[in-house]
Each structure stands twice: as C-alpha cells, then as structure tokens.
Symmetry: C2
Subunit: 125 residues, 2 copies
Amino acid sequence: MDTVKKWRSKTYTGEGCPVEASLELFSGKGKGMILYHLLEGTLRFNELKRRLGSVTQRMLTKQLRELEASGLVHRQVYAVVPPKVEYRLTDTGASLEPILLALKEWGEEHALPILRQQAKIPAES
Amino acid sequence: MDTVKKWRSKTYTGEGCPVEASLELFSGKGKGMILYHLLEGTLRFNELKRRLGSVTQRMLTKQLRELEASGLVHRQVYAVVPPKVEYRLTDTGASLEPILLALKEWGEEHALPILRQQAKIPAES
DNA sequence: CTGTATCCTGCTGGATACTG
DNA sequence: CAGTATCCAGCAGGATACAG
C-alpha cells in the first residue's frame, strides 16, 4: 500500500463509505473513551465507570453492549457474589490502538482548543 | 511499543477527553466523508454533493457550516453568476489526513464487514 | 457489584418547497 | 449554482427507580 495517493475510485458514496463506517462504530456517547481506556487492559464495570466519570450507568451498559455486539470488546462474567464482570478489547478492538492514540493527540492539539473556543466545554477545571 | 504505556493520569474523564473531543468534531452525518473527499483538493458545493450521493442538500450545507465554524474547512465565495463556492481544508483540517486515511483502511478491513454482518448496510451495491 | 425498566425531552436529520 | 425555510418523526441519551 503506497500511501494512498490515488484511492480506488470505487465510489465511496453513501452507506458504503469506510470512513463513515468506522465513525459509526465509535459514535455514541463515550465509546471513544471506553475503547481508549480499555487499551490499558482489562477493566471491571465500575473501574470503567469511575474513569469515565460523567457517563451514566445506563449509557455505559448500552455502549458496552453495542461494542460487544460489534466484536470490539469482550465481556467476561464471573459467577461470584458480588458479581464481577470484566471488559477487554478483542483483537479487532485492539487494532484500533493507533487510531485511538492519533485521535487523542489530535484532540489535545486541536479538538480541545476548538471546542473551548466554541464554548462547548468549560475552560479546563 | 512503549508509546503511552502510562498516559498522563491527568483524568481524561468526561468532557475534557481529547478522544471524545476529536470524535465530536466529526460527528454529524457525512462529516467524515466530506473531510475525506476534501483531501483530494478544492471542491465546489455540487461536486462535493455528487460525490457524497446520499446526503441531502440541507445536511451538506449544515455540516459544511459546522466544519467551517470549527476551522477545519475554508469556504471561498466568488461573486459571479451563476454562484460559485469552493471548499477546501484548512491547515488544521489537512492535519487530519493520517487519521482519515487510517479510518478508511480500518473501515474497509473491519468496520464495513461488521456493519454488513449487523445488516446495517446493504451487502454492497 | 452490575445491571434492567420506564419515562421523557431535545436534537438530528429527512422531505419538500422556495430564492438570489 | 448554492443555498434557506419549514415542518416533522425518530431516537439518543438523561434522570430515576428497582433487581439479582
């Protein structure tokens, strides 16, 4: 693959667009953050919840279920009391690492300043 | 790869998360595709519309305005008849190239197959 | 600890018609 | 050609309460 100077003119219009397809899989409140934090390794439900902070329980469950259905995250349930459930990236999920790291760096350098300028997020606590 | 084994424990929770911030800027119907197609160079409104195909005029205008407000896209208006408006990436927008290309490749390899399996998109036109 | 079940609201985005 | 203006439906996602 030589840098994709000329991508296949295979008409990436509409629903078949791979860029949109990728974005669709991360779209949903907190999915990006979830995947990013799971890069660190296996995490239990509440560990994840604590790291995300602002996400509600309902949403976290929902996003995790979607990520599981997409095959990006694996859910491991232990039959113990109190309940213990661990989440980790699948191989497919782990293949997102370079993208997630790139998004983080670009976010720090560009996205956060832009959003702050647009007053969409507080000026940093 | 020791890149980010331990990221700054600077609590990327909630709204200050750079990954989420980046994703927020692309979220919105077709934004990913728009940016991707503009990598090719300057495009007029209708050229862009033709490439995207499935996006309505209203949405395209809306997304372009948002991208412009974020400083990722530049809008050049020519005072002629019939009207002529060109769109191109700003430097900040162009800095997304590696991410967009990565999203495209990951999308072809993983996202599209996943979405097809979930029957969210037709089995290829 | 790890979830479901409801209820409810706002925003996203589609369809359509009109304009400089 | 390149928009703007309306109207409207659907669903994402918050708040809250309950459960194994």
